[in-house]
């Protein structure tokens, strides 16, 4: 906002001193009072207004207070913002960012805990991005704002308080960190020993997948590569395919082993598309063994005991990896 006067921020309850439900916008309205617009509770309206601003040369960033409310913006995203550029034969651009805090584990119950990004994967004209603790979340958001096309920017609530990781330190000490993809980076964590398994994930679930990979390494001597994506859609899985080619070579059996981890519901999720593309890429479908770790296909319960049982856990990832390795 300092460097580009076209950037506006719109959302509910984002003015100081409150500064937004998750405080992401705190301080902005004090610093840029004319470009931080607090709105009525009108998610479709906010995104539609932002879309019109974007069509006319501004760069709006709309905040949806809880990602669960993206169902309310679906028409604006799918039938308006994401369509305009192609439908109008590339005569317009829609540089719009919609930020949406997703995810559970805070006891918010069925309508304030979901990870609904899977509903927006594969929508033509729309990018879906999600930061993680390996990259620079601010840099990823800047890349989203600089993008000429609409972006759904998925922020897992638990990541707001998580420290960013540094290569070679802490949990990363046992991995070599590779990255690529420029401003929208992917990351590959390679263990010191040849891996027999590839774990693909994004966002907060990298936190769980990392712990699972360490446990597999320490307790079971199973080495896994982790491929962590910042861009969920459109799908660009080359780093994953490269990892699978390596883990096939080093696997004890004949099969590629792919494990996907996400917090959204299992059915027709991110992992389903990743698995399908990995299988299509394989010259022999029988040689790609897959497990998907995801939420149960249930609403997310309020009670912590039930919520834990519904959402994927480190143990679920370890168990799935063991199952794959013993298959």
């Amino acid at each position: 906002m300092e460097t580009d006067p076209r950037v506006y921020v719109l959302g509910e309850d984002i003015l100081d001193p409150y500064g937004g439900a998750f405080k992401v916008t705190r301080g902005l309205s004090t610093k840029f009072p004319d470009r931080v617009l607090t709105t009525p509770i009108s998610e479709a309206g906010i995104v539609g207004v932002s879309s019109g601003m974007a069509l006319r040369g501004l760069r709006p960033v709309a905040e949806i207070m809880f990602g669960d409310f993206v169902t309310l913006i679906a028409d604006q995203v799918v039938n308006h913002a994401a369509k305009f550029r192609w439908m109008y034969n590339d005569s317009v651009r829609v540089p719009l960012v919609v930020r949406a805090p997703m995810g559970g584990r805070r006891g918010y119950g069925p309508t304030h805990s979901q990870s609904l990004e899977k509903m927006f994967l594969g929508v033509p004209g729309l990018k879906v991005l999600a930061p993680n603790t390996l990259g620079d979340p601010g840099g990823l958001l800047e890349a989203a704002i600089a993008d000429d096309d609409p972006v759904l920017f998925v922020e897992h609530k638990l990541l707001y308080t998580r420290p960013l990781l540094a290569a070679g330190q802490g949990d990363l000490a046992d991995f070599a960190l590779e990255t690529g993809g420029g401003p929208v980076p992917y990351f590959v964590l390679r263990p010191a020993y040849p891996a027999s398994l590839t774990i693909a994930t994004y966002g907060y679930n990298f936190e769980l997948a990392r712990q699972a990979a360490l446990e597999l390494m320490m307790e079971h001597e199973i080495f896994a590569e982790l491929v962590v994506f910042s861009q969920l859609s459109p799908f660009d899985l080359e780093p994953l395919f490269a990892s699978l080619a390596r883990t096939l070579r080093h696997g004890s059996g004949q099969a590629r082993r792919l494990l996907t981890v996400e917090e959204g519901g299992l059915t027709l999720g991110w992992g389903a598309e990743v698995a399908a593309r990995a299988a299509e890429r394989s010259d022999d479908l029988s040689r790609c063994s897959v497990r998907r770790v995801a939420a149960r296909d249930l609403p997310i319960a309020n009670s912590p005991r039930l919520e834990d049982a519904i959402l994927p856990s480190v143990q679920d990832i370890v168990n799935a990896a063991l199952e794959l390795s013993n298959a």
């Binding site: 539609g48 019109g52 006319r56 028409d75 109008y88």
Partner: protein, 296 residues
């Protein structure tokens, strides 16, 4: 030529374009669907005779009349409807989804209103002096996002003119079965002033539109131009449940007939000849144009 002649010619262009289009559909040379503006021409012609050249326009499924009155090229529109590469958006959008200069249209009821509201906000922040016009119908009044937009436009004093063309039927559903209470009252609830006219006279529309546009352009916030009109043709092609008696009755509110009374027969004859040539040229050229290819 006189202003009255120009207004007549604009309405005639819309009428003959839509008639030609329906004829092309009936011969099978066009696929898909269309929503004719026949009967409502006074709306578009009156409004665009007083709108600013750089105002931003968001239209809906029934957009051909708005586009032609805006000054759009009938040939490019015909090519778009025929799915040709030379069409307004290269054959990608078709009848309901066109874009040219500051003119946009989309086929989703209600959803275009917040987008136009955002456009009004953009023009306001850029201090261009332009305003945004958005066209809705009586049927759009059933969509919730419309009211989110009215609220925001009023709260933020945005330069937005909502043109509500009430043609008394949402597809086949009469307003008595689709709209409770008062149309104008919906806008009044948000403190948005309404210029309401029951008319088939383009000069009435022009006067009301002029007042509404002046209000919005003055920076006083959004306004609504509420026009009660009549659609002579079906909603799209074959979906018209109205009786022959009703269709005959509403024909007395023909904006072309009303306005022709102000012109000589020589003038109306000349307009017919000029428009016939334009329409023929548009459709003939478009029909010879290539189809687009999908880029890999």
């Amino acid at each position: 030529m006189t202003e009255n002649y120009d207004l007549y010619k604009t309405m005639l262009l819309i009428r003959r374009f839509e008639e030609r289009l329906l004829a092309e559909f009936s011969t099978g040379s066009l696929v898909g669907t269309t929503h004719a503006y026949i009967g409502q021409e006074a709306g578009a012609a009156g409004i665009f005779s007083v709108a600013g050249a750089d105002d931003v326009v968001f239209s809906n499924h029934r957009c051909h009349g708005h586009f032609l009155a805006y000054g759009g090229d009938p040939y490019r529109l015909a090519a778009e409807l025929m799915g040709r590469a030379t069409g307004l958006v290269g054959g990608r959008g078709g009848s309901q989804h066109i874009q040219w200069r500051n003119f946009y249209s989309n086929g989703i009821q209600g959803g275009i209103v917040p987008v136009a509201t955002g456009m009004a906000l953009a023009e306001k922040t850029k201090q261009t002096g332009n305003l945004a016009l958005v066209f809705i119908g009586d049927g759009t009044l059933g969509e919730g996002v419309l009211y989110e937009s009215l609220n925001i436009a009023a709260l933020w004093t945005l330069p937005l003119l909502i043109v509500l063309e009430d043609n008394r039927y949402a597809q086949t559903t009469p307003t008595e079965k689709g709209v409770a209470g008062s149309m104008a009252g919906r806008f009044a609830a948000f403190g948005i002033p309404v210029w309401e006219r029951e008319t088939a006279d383009v000069l009435d529309v022009r006067a009301a539109a002029g007042e509404a546009l002046r209000h919005v352009r003055s920076g006083a916030g959004p306004g609504c131009l509420l026009l009660h009109t009549h659609r002579f043709s079906a909603h799209s092609k074959g979906d018209d449940p109205r009786s022959p008696e009703e269709l005959a009755r509403i024909r007395q509110f023909d904006p072309l007939t009303v306005h022709a009374a102000r012109l000589s027969s020589a003038e109306t004859g000349q307009a017919e000849a000029e428009i016939a040539a334009v329409i023929n040229d548009a459709f003939t050229r478009a029909a010879a144009d290539p189809f687009p290819e999908l880029e890999r």
